[in-house]
């Protein structure tokens, strides 16, 4: 048990007891969904089905249903892939990096952030696997035993690195997330047992892997969590670094940039936190979790958004500077074309959304405002989508030989598939919110006595002088 400075704002408000935490978080699982849930769920499922029909149409006929062409070989497909992968980043950062840094505030948000990661990577996987001309042969990208002679994958290709990076990332994230869920599933199972609902009890019994809550279980749980956190931490940096190498190792002006790996990681965290903000703001309202996801949480996330947004902004400006300073005609033109060419709107959209808009969070009033956060988090995600579009499409559409310069226009099929992944994401997330404990309740309980509002108050009453007491027993 840790004691926390009374100077710090409490992380759990509303005088919650241990039992109340359990009931609060189990409520959405045990109760019935309201009509809003059903409405949003219906829309999401519809989008999901529509998107996958578009995908089926593409698989049935050809990638030509999309707008890409001889010059712009990648467009919405890889834009969406990088965007979704980026969104996934916040989850791992929150659960792994913040765990290692012992940031307790992460406990209220890590579960849903990780869920978001899983779903986002699934959406990303849709694009990365389906953007190929013959997706049924995608398994050739894995170095598998085969009878094709001595044929294996090309380890020089950044796409091969990508395959390893993304699949490892997804696996580790999934395991880490599920591990955290096990004790909570145990708690839910026990509640269903008490309530006499054998069906649900059975389901959660299976899901909890027979969690017993003994000291040995807990000890192992803690150990594995730490190990996985250690494993996940480098993944936070590796995945997007490697994704960025798809571009950075090429000869395309505007892609061939050494700044890409750190810049992509910062951008990914930036967009990931924005997405977490968007989701949690809705969730805390709908599931009445205001006591757990507090303004303080929102503010923390906004601070990270401002930090990473500024990093991204610095990266943009460095790119611009280097493109001019290098004196390379193609590099210089690529960036000038981004800003003033036919796709200028996407560049300025990116600049406004990613660099200027997060600076508003310097004002405390804005970063603690729910509505402002909601609006700005969506703006940031739009901006990050534009960033990927700018990098991919505007670099490709005018590269070396002006004779091959052309334009790219998306088709309804592509837009449909993108809508479909958004539908898929929300479908999964809504199901998650109704069936899984959306907050890591076992973890949260560990900080109730140190960071709960009423305990802080009691402690403050006992020792009025503000003594910093941070050592744990």
């Amino acid at each position: 048990m840790q004691h926390e400075s009374p100077l710090r704002d409490p992380l759990i408000l509303g005088d919650r007891t241990y039992h109340e935490i359990t009931t609060d978080i189990a409520k959405p699982i045990e109760g019935k969904a309201n009509k809003y849930w059903y409405l949003v769920f219906t829309i999401s499922v519809a989008a999901f089905i529509w998107g996958f029909s578009c995908l089926a149409y593409t698989i049935g006929t050809g990638i030509g249903q999309w707008g890409a062409n001889k010059t712009v070989g990648w467009a919405w497909d890889i834009t969406n892939f990088v965007w979704w992968i980026g969104i996934g980043h916040a989850g791992t950062l929150i659960s792994a990096v913040l765990l290692l840094f012992r940031q307790k505030w992460r406990m209220a948000i890590n579960r849903s952030a990780e869920a978001m990661t899983i779903f986002a990577v699934m959406c990303a996987a849709v694009f990365v696997t389906m953007h190929t001309g013959r997706p049924w042969l995608d398994y050739w990208l894995f170095p598998h035993a085969n009878q094709f002679g001595s044929l294996w994958v090309n380890f020089n290709s950044p796409l091969t690195w990508d395959v390893f990076a993304v699949s490892t990332y997804f696996t580790v994230s999934l395991v880490f997330w599920y591990l955290g869920l096990i004790p909570d599933f145990g708690a839910i199972r026990d509640r269903f047992k008490v309530q006499g609902k054998p069906m649900q009890e059975k389901i959660y019994k299976i899901l909890s892997f027979g969690w017993s809550g003994r000291a040995r279980d807990w000890s192992r749980f803690e150990e594995v969590s730490l190990v996985l956190a250690g494993l996940s931490t480098p993944l936070v940096f590796s995945v997007h670094s490697i994704v960025s190498m798809d571009f950075a190792t090429s000869v395309v002006p505007g892609w061939h940039t050494t700044i890409f790996p750190p810049y992509f990681v910062a951008g990914a965290i930036f967009s990931g936190f924005a997405m977490v903000s968007t989701l949690l703001l809705i969730m805390r309202k709908v599931l009445s979790l205001e006591h757990y996801i507090t303004i303080q949480h929102i503010e923390m996330m906004n601070i990270i958004i401002t930090l990473t947004g500024s990093m991204v902004g610095v990266a943009y400006l460095s790119e611009l500077f280097i493109s001019w300073y290098s004196g390379v005609e193609y590099e210089g033109y690529a960036f000038m074309n981004r800003a003033t060419g036919p796709y200028w709107w996407s560049y300025w959209g990116m600049m406004t959304c990613n660099v200027i808009s997060p600076q508003l969070f310097w004002f405390k009033k804005i970063r603690t405002s729910l509505i402002a956060t909601m609006v700005l988090s969506i703006v940031v995600n739009i901006g990050m989508w534009f960033e990927r579009f700018v990098i991919i499409v505007t670099s490709l559409h005018r590269d070396y030989l002006p004779s091959s310069w052309t334009m790219y226009h998306p088709t309804w099929v592509e837009i449909g598939i993108f809508t479909g992944t958004i539908g898929m994401f929300f479908t999964f997330f809504l199901l998650f919110a109704r069936t899984f404990p959306v907050i890591a309740l076992s973890e949260l309980k560990t900080i109730l006595k140190s960071s709960g509002e009423q305990y802080k108050r009691e402690r403050a009453e006992k020792s009025p002088s503000p003594v910093t007491e941070t050592t744990s027993h």
């Binding site: 050809g62 001889k70 953007h131 190929t132 050739w140 990208l141 020089n156 002006p402 052309t406």
Partner: protein, 1095 residues
């Protein structure tokens, strides 16, 4: 009924029944040790895994069978039951033949595989085309497999067509012909002596037969002028290779004028420079439309069509032959005239107009500069264009009166005749109309009978394109459908039942055999002529006696007997018809008449110049998808015709929302107009039609250009919807000459209407990247320094400035055996696109249609980039900036650079195919190693391995990789009509079996014709030698009329490509990227004083 009979199986059954029964109780009479084979008997019986093993095997086999069933469907191939003698499956047979469609002539070799013609190549024995072909001739093999071809004779009953047997059709037509008052045969130019003989026989049988020659692109005016100047209604042969100064007045002699393949080749010779040749021809062009000839000119002067009169008179005046000083471009005309005077005997003036007066003045200029007999060869007149406009006019007048029956042979006047002729109406007055068309074209559709002729690759014929030059057209395949030689049809109707093959032989025996000196024996002569495809034959001079002739020919009685064996028994000779004795009804014109006519030429606000496009020519092959998808060399537009208009005129017409005097308002960025073009209604010579307007820099102000060959009707949904027909707007003078220039046309904005256009290159300038992409210099600079305009690219390194070749991140590959390479001489490339079609045919490149081209998804493995110069030159602007005088900001500068010079841009063509980089960026990024490097320097594609990530295409700096966005051979979107040849079974016959048809989702690109390389290597190996230079050639290099492309082995020190590699003009595209291309280019040299040679 019970059968109590017993049949013994042998004597043993009778003698020892029990033993027999024992022996036969088992399945086999003898003991078969099955169990012993399987293993230990006891163990087998006790083993409990037998059943499980069985189930495992069962499961495995079921799964294996199921998986095997998932494989791609099996396509059936039917083997030869009896192999034909001359066919070895997998080995191509080549046949010499000839192509002539009334517009283009070429001597060809037909490559057939398993009996199917699949590719055409030039016949190197031909003194005219010398082994070179144009895009149109290359593409003609595809029209053989056009599913729109007629399958047999047709007869109209009411408004419907009925298929008939030949005998029925012949009987019906015979009855009609017998009743005819007057019969006319309307044909395009016929240069075949045997065909003319057949027509003569037909004319002899029926009284009142008139043969009229009608060319849709007519040279009648030229013939009239020549008749006046030289007394011969013929067209001479032009010798561009002997000309130092070439002046063209609107003649597109590299793509469409008279004999373009020959001219291009000759022109190429004069344009080549090298170590030992530091001179080249100087080419001036006066024209209104930007043609490829004009684009290649050293100096091009945009003038309105009517102004050509002034120019011609000015030139005549300048060279001292009369005329009057030009009041249009006076100084330039004087300069050109001075150049012509300076090159006496080595100058040549050609004119593309069909106006006799203008041509007459041009004749006078040529006479004045001593061109006759040097650059203009009257010894070998050209027979390929004999159209007689006045005779056509007369025929139309007589139709319905003295002529009631017309036979149409290889001509389509309903589509192509000027509106003034009113051909369609005259046609309705006839009582009998017969067409020999192989397709249901516009004219055939109005006929009563269609007796389809063979496709030329199925037919025998002979050609006499030039005096003394004969060539045989040999069929390369049995007729696919129930078609018949038109000549045979004519002979049959005249009562001669000889088949045309025999008739042809008879003709050659009676007429051609006596003209030669090599063979005494007809069989040998015939076989040699057919094998070689071409023969040089000169009529014996009249002064020779009969005996002299005989001794000259070495004919003995014995030889004569022998020759009989090959020919038909019928000894009757075929009448000899010479192309020299062409009837011409156009009359003559004097110089004073001509001068006064020319002086009175006046143009309206807008003048129209109708031209034949490089791809479609006169439109005879409009239905050919390869040609439709061949981008126009200048506009890069496919599948359409359009109005070309100077951007300044567009501004004046306030099209595209351009309004006001704002300088920026005129600056239209080409990529933004790639989608929709404004449509304008044009009225010319009373004909109205609507066409989209395309900005054409270099188009003379106040003039517009429209290509013929589009707007066909009755073919299929796609061809019928490409462009509009402009032939009706062709003018018809009182004397009956067709005029392709209309001096006053009305244009009206068609309001909101817009037209979608598909171009393969939407960006037209090089954006100041000359240094890296294409290098140019002037002849003067080149003469001083071979490396002029071609400095070695350098790079900043920590050790200082270094040659980019020295800065290398990679290890070089070893090239133990060959190192294939390709050199492209930018100075010879004229941008004609023959290579593109040759590549399409050789490599089964799919046609994707307008919609896909519009999406920038054309599949061409090679393209010809075309760059216009811009008014804003980066170097100059940078210099101004350094001096502090810069007016434009950086962004403004780039924006201005995107716009070509409107008035008269310089143009450069650059063929681009896979550069086969030795450090290929595509290879490193492919995750599955589908694209990799050969030890011979080729960048190869393993289609089967390709997953289709398209990463390689993104990483290709040259953007030469092409992705199969769809299954072009199966997907129904490409099924409509014969868009993609590989879509229907008939069209598939054109596919080259040596090259795989790529499936959907894989990347493809130029392979440097790897199948030809491998084939050549095998041939060399069989011969026990190394492949000699020239033994292996790519399709593009083979066909190139100017020899701009050279393929060879860099490891072979004696190869042509090795020599070029050491040339001072050698450069690589984007050398500083370090990709080390195997394809290199030679600097473009301009013969102009202007120091600013650059695009």
């Amino acid at each position: 009924m019970a059968n109590d009979k017993q049949y013994w199986k042998g004597i043993s059954q009778l003698t020892d029944e029990t033993k027999f029964a024992e022996k036969h109780s088992g399945e086999f009479a003898e003991y078969i040790p099955v169990e012993d084979f399987i293993g230990d008997k006891a163990k087998m019986e006790t083993s409990s895994t037998n059943r499980r093993d069985f189930l495992k095997f069962l499961g495995f086999s079921t799964v294996a069978a199921t998986l095997a069933a998932c494989e791609a469907p099996v396509m059936k191939a039917i083997p030869y039951v009896n192999r034909p003698d001359d066919i070895t499956p997998g080995v191509a047979n080549w046949y010499a033949s000839s192509f002539f469609d009334g517009h283009d002539y070429a001597s060809i070799l037909v490559k057939t595989r398993e009996g199917r013609p699949i590719k055409l190549e030039g016949n190197t024995l031909s003194p005219i085309t010398k082994g070179k072909l144009s895009a149109r001739v290359q593409a003609s093999v595809l029209s053989l497999y056009d599913s729109a071809r007629l399958k047999g004779p047709k007869m109209k009953s009411g408004n419907a067509w009925a298929d008939k047997a030949w005998s029925e059709a012949d009987a019906a037509i015979g009855a009609k012909l017998a009743q005819s008052k007057g019969i006319a045969i309307l044909s395009s130019t016929i240069i075949s002596p045997s065909t003319k003989a057949a027509i003569a026989e037909f004319s002899a049988k029926y009284t009142n037969v008139r043969h009229v020659t009608y060319d849709s692109i007519s040279y009648s005016g030229m013939m009239k002028a020549n008749l006046s100047s030289f007394g011969k209604a013929l067209i001479p042969t032009y010798r561009f290779d002997k000309a130092d100064v070439i002046v063209s007045l609107g003649a597109d002699f590299l793509a469409n004028w008279l004999s373009p393949i020959e001219h291009a080749r000759q022109y190429g010779i004069t344009r080549k420079v090298g170590k030992d040749k530091k001179t080249m021809s100087k080419h001036f062009q006066f024209e209104s439309n930007m043609s490829i000839t004009g684009a290649n000119a050293d100096e091009r002067f945009p003038v309105k069509p009517s102004q050509l009169a002034q120019i011609a008179l000015g030139l005549l005046n300048g060279v001292g032959g009369g005329g009057s000083a030009s009041n249009v471009m006076g100084t330039q005309v004087t300069k050109v005239a001075d150049a012509l005077k300076g090159a006496r005997g080595k100058g040549l003036v050609v004119c593309g107009s069909n106006d006799a007066a203008l041509q007459l003045v041009v004749n006078e200029i040529n006479k004045s500069i001593g061109a006759i007999g040097t650059t203009i060869d009257w010894e070998n007149p050209d027979y390929t264009h004999q159209g007689d406009d006045a005779a056509v006019k007369k025929l139309v007048e007589d139709m319905g009166t003295s002529i009631d029956t017309v036979i149409f042979y290889n001509t389509n006047p309903v589509y192509s005749a000027p509106m003034a002729l009113n051909f369609g109406a005259a046609m309705k007055k006839l009582s009998c109309r017969i067409s020999f068309s192989g397709m249901l074209d516009e004219t055939a559709a109005m006929c009563d009978f269609i007796c389809p002729d063979h496709h030329y690759l199925e037919a025998w014929n002979d050609h006499n394109p030039r005096k003394g030059h004969y060539s045989i057209q040999q069929p390369a395949i049995r007729p696919l459908f129930s078609t018949r030689h038109a000549q045979e049809t004519l002979l049959l109707w005249s009562g001669n039942k000889t088949d045309y093959h025999t008739y042809l032989q008879k003709g050659w025996k009676s007429n051609m055999l006596p003209m030669q000196h090599t063979f005494g024996d007809f069989a040998a002569f015939w076989n040699s002529s057919v094998r070689d495809g071409v023969s040089e034959l000169w009529p014996a001079t009249a002064t020779q006696t009969e005996d002299e002739k005989k001794s000259l020919l070495g004919i003995t009685k014995k030889d004569k007997d022998k020759s009989d064996t090959i020919s038909a028994n019928d000894e009757s000779a075929v009448v000899s018809v010479s192309n020299d004795s062409v009837s011409f009804t156009g009359g003559t014109i004097t110089l004073s008449e001509a001068t006064s006519q020319l002086s009175s030429w006046k143009g309206g606000k807008y003048e129209l110049s109708i031209y034949a496009s490089t791809a479609l020519g006169n439109g005879a092959q409009s239905q050919n998808p390869w040609l439709q998808e061949l981008p126009d060399p200048i506009t890069k537009i496919t599948w359409d015709n359009y109005i070309t208009m100077n951007p300044a005129d567009v501004k004046e017409m306030k099209l595209f929302g351009v309004e006001g005097d704002d300088k920026d308002a005129v600056i239209v960025r080409f990529d933004q107009m790639e989608d929709m073009l404004d449509v304008v209604e044009i009225t010319a010579n009373g004909y109205k039609t609507k066409l989209p307007v395309w900005f054409q820099p270099g188009q003379a102000r106040g003039s517009i250009g429209i290509a013929v060959g589009y707007g066909r009707k009755g073919f299929n949904e796609i061809i019928d919807n490409t462009g509009a027909n402009i032939y009706p707007a062709v003018g018809m003078s009182a004397s009956g000459t067709m005029s392709y220039d209309v001096y006053d046309v009305q244009l009206a904005d068609a309001g909101v209407e817009q037209h979608k256009i598909a171009t393969t290159q939407s960006h037209s300038t090089i954006m100041g990247r000359n240094e890296d992409i294409l290098r140019e210099t002037t002849l003067a600079a080149f003469a001083k320094d071979e490396r002029a305009g071609n400095p070695r690219p350098t790079m900043h390194t920590y050790k200082g400035e270094a040659d980019v070749e020295k800065v290398n991140l990679w290890n070089d590959f070893e090239r133990p055996n060959h190192q294939w390479s390709m050199a492209i001489d930018l100075n010879s490339c004229i941008g004609c696109g023959a290579c593109v079609i040759a590549c399409n045919a050789e490599n089964n490149v799919p046609v994707v249609g307008k919609d896909e081209v519009h999406r920038s998804r054309e599949m061409h493995w090679m393209r010809i980039d075309r760059y216009f110069s811009s008014d804003t030159v980066k170097e100059e602007e940078d210099k101004k900036d350094e001096e502090g005088k810069g007016e434009l900001g950086l962004m403004e500068m780039y924006r201005h650079m995107e716009n070509p010079s409107f008035d008269n841009p310089k143009v450069v063509f650059q063929p681009v195919m896979c550069q086969h980089c030795n450090h290929a960026p595509c290879e490193t990024v492919c995750p599955v190693l589908a694209t990799n490097h050969s030890s011979e320097g080729l960048n190869q594609m393993a289609y089967n391995r390709c997953v289709g990530t398209r990463y390689c295409a993104n990483n290709c700096p040259f953007k030469v990789r092409r992705f199969n966005w769809f299954n072009y051979t199966e997907y129904h979107r490409f099924e409509k009509t014969n868009l993609n040849p590989a879509h229907d079974l008939l069209g598939r016959m054109v596919l080259n079996p040596d090259v795989v048809v790529r499936s959907r989702g894989v990347m493809e690109k130029c392979t440097m014709c790897v199948q030809r390389i491998q084939g050549g290597k095998l041939d060399a190996k069989k011969a026990g030698v190394r492949p000699a230079d020239g033994m292996i050639n790519t399709a593009c290099a083979q066909t190139c009329p100017t020899d701009a492309i050279t393929f060879g082995d860099l490891n072979d020190m004696k190869s042509a490509v090795s020599a070029m590699e050491k040339d001072g003009r050698k450069f690589e595209m984007l050398e500083e990227t370090g990709v080390r291309p195997s394809v290199f280019y030679l600097t473009k040299v301009w013969n102009r004083e202007d120091e600013k040679a650059h695009v």
